[in-house]
Symmetry: C2
């Protein structure tokens, strides 16, 4: 085992590369463009692993992240977050070094952008496939047409197509239910495409949540997929039905510092600043922030135990353990924890250590 002395996010490179390979292979087979979302890993190096699988375009969730990946030579980047025209300065800089695709929600934002745009830019209109976060209703043709008019008013802007994120798949708990979400969102995207294909024959339909892209095999009529979380997966994806625990590529290594046998609690260094604070609920209503895995020489083993993280404060993690499980542990042991939400955990701790001890850097803060 590599030397761990403080909370450390371990990355199993082999599992991660297998996750990337599986989806890249599926995209090739299904003849859809693979434009992976990089918001989960936020790392140049992990981005290169996608490039090795043939990805030439990527998705990010902020202009700042677009700049970070443009620095590493990505030449075709979609910012899958509603256009924020206040960032015009960096948008203009980026359009001079790469093909930038932005996401539109309103004619108003397009008009704000248009005033100061200096280079050509491609645009998607975001469609709400039933998640009810951002995006236009797929039958709101009047709203869509207003945006298309605002786009047509500026010769630097090109309408590229429709993009959706079926985030309602995060609420389901089985493969058949994930597939229902997938079928419904594909269907409404294709109807939308049919409605606009005469005016825009090269229209791109882009979808992309990890649950549906993980389990679906049929992408007929869709042009592009943008899943992100599946680079690492996490416990949330396990309970949705997107993956198995064996496919989770990261685990937090946390030194054990104390225990309380009476309350069946083990205390580790590893808190909200390392994991962030997303949680899941067991069937009986118990809240948990992670599941314990055993760390062995150069790898972790899947839980043969029922130990879980029951609470997190800033630096403390409190693990529930049976008395028997506790007796197999001692202060100074390093305990592995599978995270509930890989994206927020990676962003919180800000870097990875591979099982051979190599540090992999991420995008910085501020």
């Amino acid at each position: 085992m590599i030397e761990v002395v403080r909370p450390t996010l371990l990355l199993n490179e082999a599992i991660c590369k297998a996750n990337i390979h599986r989806i890249a292979e599926k995209a090739r087979k299904q003849k859809v463009r693979f434009r992976p979302h990089f918001k989960t890993h936020q790392s140049h190096e992990v981005g290169k692993w996608f490039r090795a699988e043939g990805a030439t375009a990527c998705t990010v969730s902020s202009i700042k992240m677009a700049s970070y990946f443009a620095e590493d030579g990505w030449k075709d980047i979609t910012v899958a977050f509603p256009l924020n025209a206040l960032e015009i300065k960096e948008i203009n800089r980026l359009t001079s070094v790469c093909t930038l695709n932005l996401l539109l929600e309103s004619a108003e934002a397009v008009k704000q952008l248009s005033k100061h745009l200096t280079n050509s830019l491609q645009c998607f209109i975001e469609i709400d496939p039933g998640y009810h976060r951002t995006g236009l209703n797929p039958t709101d043709f009047s709203g869509i047409d207003k945006i298309l008019e605002a786009v047509a008013d500026n010769h630097l802007l090109t309408f590229k197509g429709f993009l959706c994120h079926a985030g309602q798949s995060y609420a389901v708990r089985s493969v058949p239910d994930i597939l229902k979400v997938h079928t419904a969102s594909m269907s409404l995207m294709k109807s939308l495409g049919d409605h606009y294909k005469n005016g825009y024959p090269n229209l791109v339909l882009s979808i992309g949540d990890t649950p549906t892209c993980s389990v679906a095999e049929d992408f007929d009529g869709i042009d592009e997929i943008r899943p992100g979380n599946l680079v690492f997966y996490d416990l949330q994806q396990v309970i949705i039905g997107s993956c198995t625990r064996e496919q989770i590529a990261i685990a937090m290594a946390c030194p054990m510092v104390a225990f309380n046998e009476e309350r069946q609690e083990v205390f580790v260094h590893g808190g909200g600043v390392h994991f962030s604070k997303d949680f899941l609920k067991k069937e009986d209503g118990t809240i948990y922030y992670g599941e314990v895995v055993k760390l062995n020489s150069n790898r972790w083993e899947l839980p043969s135990t029922s130990m879980y993280v029951k609470s997190l404060s800033q630096e403390h993690g409190v693990i529930h353990a049976s008395v028997e499980e506790m007796r197999q542990l001692k202060i100074g042991d390093v305990i592995g924890v599978l995270p509930v939400h890989a994206c927020l955990t990676a962003a919180a701790i800000g870097g990875y250590t591979t099982l051979s001890g190599r540090v992999i850097e991420m995008m910085g803060k501020v």
Copy 2:
């Protein structure tokens, strides 16, 4: 107003310095040593503002944070987190540049530490004043004595006193209830001091949560206080009763990117990677992640509205607003949000911008 184009954590220097002054003044008046906890701000510069108020010693929550503040010349640092002897290498380095005080929970950890310790080190024993996280029961004399024996076995170790964090104060919702927690934890710490004062005449009793230190005026018999959050305060402290909204020193500035009038939702750039994900519950059970304030030229105004952050995903913030409130907003506006939990928010976004536009750096990641 300074130019904000992406999520930016604004720091009102005047409010922050007033918060620091108020507690430093109280400590002087009550003749208790002020050893502020720096885990909330994690910033050299903000640390200097405490120094300007006479603080010569500080508290941190990790060895890494101790190293960060030692770099800036802090010479007396308490790590208020259970000793993790795996960090011996950095502990030995730190003890050669400053007075380091570590927190003990067990004789086992002391023995592990003792094996490789190269310089003198001071120790506190952590006492559980009813919070039931880490710490020994205040009447567990046998457990305490075992630790004291392990400390006595190593001539480099000095027992300095007892330290507690009455974190149960975070569950109360009124000043009288905060004071009950304070009276109870002071009382048990003083009893413990009385029990050990013959053997250890210079014994230090250290307490330190923000709610009790904010509202209590009586610290008789206590030697040291270690509050941290009160440098900024937050909505959690407001509902506990520790402070008013006027005393909150930070607010997240978030660009508005979209809205949905039917669902009364305003979408901003500002998500879990900026705020972290602690939340509060209104009396009717509604969950919220922040309250909206109006940003004006160089300051924010307290909410005259009822707008609150109803959900956060990685980069999106969803704000609930009345139809009337929504009509006063437009895409491209910058919306201010008071955070629920200042410590995790500051750590998540990783830096501050003052109201004059100056960037204040924090401890880095990895």
